[in-house]
């Protein structure tokens, strides 16, 4: 039996958690406002910092969109592309990020990442929507199958149709969820003339130099190095020189 004291403690903890989340959201909003103000005053380095802090505490498509704009104005093409890619990942319906990406890549003569068919399908909706769809459809199918038996309801054709529909949706979301996962391995080179190393070592021979903003897909990790595959070749880059669309 839970005592009154324990119940009070639980309520306090819950309230604290809610307040903390609120505080986080508030600080995120504040940083966003500060960033917007700095951007309007053309203080792009400061705006970048504010938007980045806001995005770290409260990731949102709009914040990343503005962060990308500030980075672009600050002359940091790779970081701008990364921010817009993140914005597009969170909100695929928003065409602004996509247009900005197209423009930036044309200006910097960079290529877009090469996507597989399931990654293209995954980009139609936000990644979490696909996850929710898979979970929802699966459990709805399970519930529709199990509940009539448990509650002694009469099985109807409608229930069976719902089960079939839910299972169909679940099966359809599997490749898109896989696509979302593989898409999370895509990232961008951040530094100019980043050496693509033949081996994951400090004194490695450079296979080629990568331009800032060039896309790559992480295949493996070893120590401070990531094995990435670009459109042309495969090699190792230092962790700090490469950032994934979905940070870990």
């Amino acid at each position: 039996m839970i005592s009154l004291r324990s119940l009070q403690l639980l309520i306090c903890l819950g309230a604290l958690l809610i307040c903390r989340n609120d505080a986080g959201a508030n600080s995120g909003t504040n940083f966003f406002k500060l960033g917007t103000a700095a951007y309007e005053q053309k203080d792009f380095p400061h705006a970048t910092k504010m938007f980045a802090t806001s995005a770290a505490s409260e990731p949102a498509a709009g914040t990343f969109q503005n962060l990308g704009n500030a980075e672009w104005q600050d002359g940091r093409t790779a970081e701008a592309i990364l921010a817009w890619e993140r914005a597009a990942c969170l909100k695929p319906f928003d065409r602004n990020a996509e247009n900005n990406l197209k423009f930036a890549r044309e200006s910097a003569q960079l290529e877009a990442p090469e996507l597989t068919w399931c990654e293209i399908a995954a980009s139609w909706l936000p990644a979490n929507v696909w996850a929710w769809l898979a979970c929802g459809s699966f459990w709805l199918a399970v519930a529709t199958m199990m509940l009539p038996g448990v509650l002694r309801w009469r099985r109807s054709a409608t229930q069976q149709a719902i089960v079939a529909l839910c299972l169909g949706v679940f099966l359809l979301t599997l490749p898109t969820n896989y696509g979302s996962w593989t898409r999370s391995q895509i990232g961008f080179v951040l530094k100019r003339e980043t050496p693509l190393r033949l081996t994951p070592t400090a004194e490695a021979e450079a296979v080629t130099k990568l331009a800032a903003g060039e896309p790559g897909r992480v295949l493996r990790e070893r120590g401070n190095y990531l094995l990435i595959r670009t459109r042309r070749t495969t090699g190792w880059v230092e962790r700090d020189d490469f950032a994934l669309i979905t940070p870990r």
């Binding site: 033949l198 400090a202 004194e203 094995l227």
Partner: protein
């Protein structure tokens, strides 16, 4: 490979020899160990085994090792690089180790093709000594009014300038070859360091790193010395040219040595009129048209020779200004 042994024996002494023999044994063991692996397409007999087109990392590694033992360094390098490109972690340390050997060998071959650094330095010093003597005699001639002495000093100056120009070119060629060898050895050093980074138990790689660092330090010493000599030769040529201009001004036109008045004698081949009968020219060396090494060029070449990483290797010990081994063997 034999040439590599020779070089290490000559330059690195007992320590280098022992290390190389040990490493070579290691290399062969690696090759044999790899060949005994899964596909079984290679045997230990490197001369008779039919070689199939490499299809996997092991094949590329074995093919590279085979070429290395045959002394086909360029091909070996390609195979090892292909093996490394396949990113198979099992073979990377060994492939890097052997690639280090290949590149060290390539650097040694570059040095074999190069003019001997010691000989070039010695010749440069001789040319400088002669230039000094010519400058001294020119000053004496300029102080007096003896026409014969003036003409003799002028002609000697021309010969000294020509010799300086030719020697400077020899030094430049030696520097270029040494620079190429240096870049190969720096890459070899990087390969051994990478091999050690991937396999910290690779004692051979550790020893090779020490040996190559030592060799690189010596090479850089030689390069610095040659660059310094090149700079001095360029400077002395200018001084002699200035002196010749003054001498020409003091020599009456009918007695002036061949060539247009007021011109310095850069290339006698380009002159419309050759030397007059009875006139002797200072000693010069045979050779084709040469380009002198300017101090700026020497600086550029030296600037390109940076050691890898932040590690500073021991440089010259001070005694290199006057090489002891005047008849040193060609690398």
């Amino acid at each position: 490979m034999n040439s590599k042994f020779k070089i290490k024996n000559e330059k690195w002494g007992r320590r280098g020899r022992a290390a190389l023999v040990f490493n070579f044994a290691f290399l062969i063991l690696n090759f044999v160990g790899a060949a005994d692996g899964t596909n079984g397409t290679h045997t230990n007999d490197t001369n008779t085994a039919p070689e199939l087109t490499p299809t996997n990392t092991r094949d590329f590694f074995n093919a590279g090792t085979r070429r290395l033992t045959e002394g086909k360094l360029r091909e070996a390098e390609g195979f090892f690089q292909s093996a490394l490109t396949r990113q198979d972690e099992r073979f990377q340390p060994q492939a890097l180790h052997n690639l280090g050997h290949v590149r060290y060998g390539q650097g040694a071959e570059e040095l074999k093709k190069s003019p001997d650094a010691n000989a070039a330095s010695q010749r440069a010093m001789n040319a400088l000594d002669r230039g000094d003597a010519v400058l001294r005699s020119g000053s004496v001639a300029l102080a007096g009014n003896d026409l014969n002495k003036l003409i003799e000093a002028y002609v000697n100056g021309r010969g000294a300038r020509k010799e300086l120009r030719e020697t400077a070119d020899l030094v430049r060629r030696a520097m270029e070859a040494h620079g190429a060898a240096l870049s190969k050895w720096q890459r070899a050093l990087g390969d051994f360091k990478s091999a050690l980074e991937l396999n910290s138990n690779d004692a051979d790689a550790k020893r090779n790193i020490e040996i190559i660092e030592e060799a690189i330090a010596k090479l850089i010493d030689k390069l610095r010395k040659m660059a310094q000599l090149g700079q001095m030769m360029g400077q002395q040529r200018g001084e002699i040219g200035e002196m010749m201009k003054q001498l020409r001004g003091k020599i009456p036109a009918p007695d002036a040595p061949p060539g247009d008045a007021g011109e310095e004698d850069e290339d006698e081949e380009e002159r419309p009129n050759g030397p007059r009968e009875g006139q002797k020219e200072g000693k010069g060396r045979e050779g084709e048209e040469q380009r002198p090494l300017s101090s700026q060029e020497a600086g550029w070449i030296l600037d390109a020779f940076k050691l890898g990483g932040n590690k500073q290797l021991p440089m010259g010990q001070g005694e290199e200004k006057k090489p002891k081994d005047k008849k040193g063997k060609n690398w």
